[in-house]
């Protein structure tokens, strides 16, 4: 197996670069303290020497929302101008009524409690509750996001969800050879 560098919390990472004033980009699992970069999660350390990007890949079960990620959520209720959606994070997410393709003040979607949706995280930081959108806000098209009807949803680890999302997921290809199906994979560890 290729040289895999496993780090645990507390390990100091060697981020020495050739240029003196290089900008280092620290991804998940790393933090900077007193001029040193150290790991805060246990996992495999990845480094991209061209962009000075370092991050730790680790598997876990609890989702922490990040902007731009596709998630599968369950509608909990309607509050004011949006829906409260459970995406498995510490706080429930807000899905505005107008964040759907073709939605206007007169033409709003009508999701019931318990409906499953595939959405993109539009706002995520540690200070606010996460927010979702069911369309691409630049193009106005749904691009696969929206309500997911029929079918069933199951939970999996975040690592497995990421692997399923990669283009060459063998499990999904093998399944597709036997049975035609449609699936939506959320990086929050839920698969419809």
């Amino acid at each position: 197996m290729a040289d895999v560098k496993v780090v645990v919390p507390g390990d100091v990472i060697d981020t020495h670069t050739e240029e003196d004033d290089a900008v280092l980009r620290l991804g998940p699992g790393l933090t900077q303290h007193a001029g040193k970069v150290s790991a805060v999660a246990a996992g495999v350390l990845h480094a991209s020497p061209d962009t000075n990007h370092f991050w730790v890949v680790s598997n876990k079960r609890r989702y922490v929302p990040a902007e731009g990620e596709p998630v599968v959520g369950v509608v909990l209720g309607r509050h004011g101008e949006g829906y409260r959606v459970d995406i498995g994070s510490a706080h429930d997410a807000l899905l505005p009524l107008l964040a759907f393709e073709g939605a206007t003040r007169r033409n709003k979607p009508n999701l019931v409690v318990g409906a499953t949706v595939y959405a993109r995280v539009s706002v995520a930081n540690e200070m606010m509750d996460p927010e979702l959108e069911c369309f691409n806000s630049h193009t106005g098209k749904s691009e696969g996001y929206g309500e997911l009807t029929h079918g069933f949803t199951f939970k999996c680890s975040l690592g497995l969800a990421r692997r399923l999302l990669s283009a060459k997921a063998p499990v999904l290809s093998a399944l597709g050879e036997q049975v035609p199906f449609e699936a939506a994979v959320g990086v929050n560890g839920r698969v419809w």
Binding site: M1, V4, V6, V8, P9, G10, D11, G29, T31, V40, A41, A42, G43, V44, S58, N59, K60, R61, R62, V64, A90, H91, E126, M127, G159, R163, K168, A169, P170
Partner: protein, 225 residues
């Protein structure tokens, strides 16, 4: 004076751990040192009660349950040990207004329970992926009636101790302990001797924990396609 199980004074018991065996929690670990076995399950970061909500960091909650009976005051000491240790080590400021709930269940007690609880909690937090400043391991030393010092006492050894000292250290390059608990009558020399013995025991425990965590991650990486 020989120890009942013929161990050297500086020898800790055989360590064993299982990571991620519970499937309803976010992270879990079972840690055993000899016959002392502790199971820890961790949830987090999850929603927090308004009363406990902290605006700038996560709220850490620890529950420790004994093997038999209802929790009593001395079980609260173990909760306190785990909570004060990990309130410093968990990077709670990355997840404000959330809760990290640590549940520790004593499966079998044979001395050095608070050290085992701290060790099991470190592994469970790592299994859950909760950000930690460092890995923390703990060890207990006692001063026996003949003033000899032994590490990792069994319950039988601890019952006759003049003083009991539990130290926890992290794998960061600093000598200051992450947790200290000393009880009984002891001299400064005895305290320092226990301190040194515990550092050595903690180093071995940290190495064991690192091997366990690396093994789990390598296994996950190899099964990834």
């Amino acid at each position: 004076m020989a120890r009942p199980d013929r161990r050297d004074p500086t020898q800790i018991r055989a360590l064993h751990c299982v990571l991620g065996q519970l499937n309803r929690v976010d992270g879990s670990a079972q840690f055993s040192a000899g016959d002392t076995s502790v199971l820890c399950g961790v949830y987090g970061p999850v929603d927090v009660k308004l009363y406990d909500e902290k605006l700038d960091r996560a709220h850490i909650e620890v529950k420790f349950r004994p093997d038999i009976g209802v929790p009593t005051t001395k079980d609260k000491w173990v909760e306190d040990a785990v909570r004060t240790t990990f309130e410093r080590e968990i990077l709670g400021q990355l997840h404000p207004r959330t809760l990290v709930q640590i549940n520790v269940q004593l499966c079998q007690g044979d001395g050095s329970v608070d050290a085992a609880a701290i060790n099991a909690t470190t592994l469970a937090l790592i299994d859950a992926g909760i950000p930690l400043r460092a890995m923390v391991a703990a060890a207990t030393c006692i001063v026996r009636p003949d003033h000899s010092i032994i590490v990792d006492p069994t319950q039988e050894e601890a019952d006759s101790a003049l003083s009991t000292h539990t130290f926890a250290f992290s794998n960061l390059q600093s000598n200051s302990p992450a947790y200290v608990d000393s009880r009984g009558e002891f001299s400064l020399d005895e305290y320092n001797a226990c301190y040194d013995m515990c550092i050595a025991a903690v180093d071995r425990t940290l190495a064991f924990m690192r091997t366990a965590v690396e093994g789990k991650i390598l296994k996950e990486t190899q099964t990834a396609l």
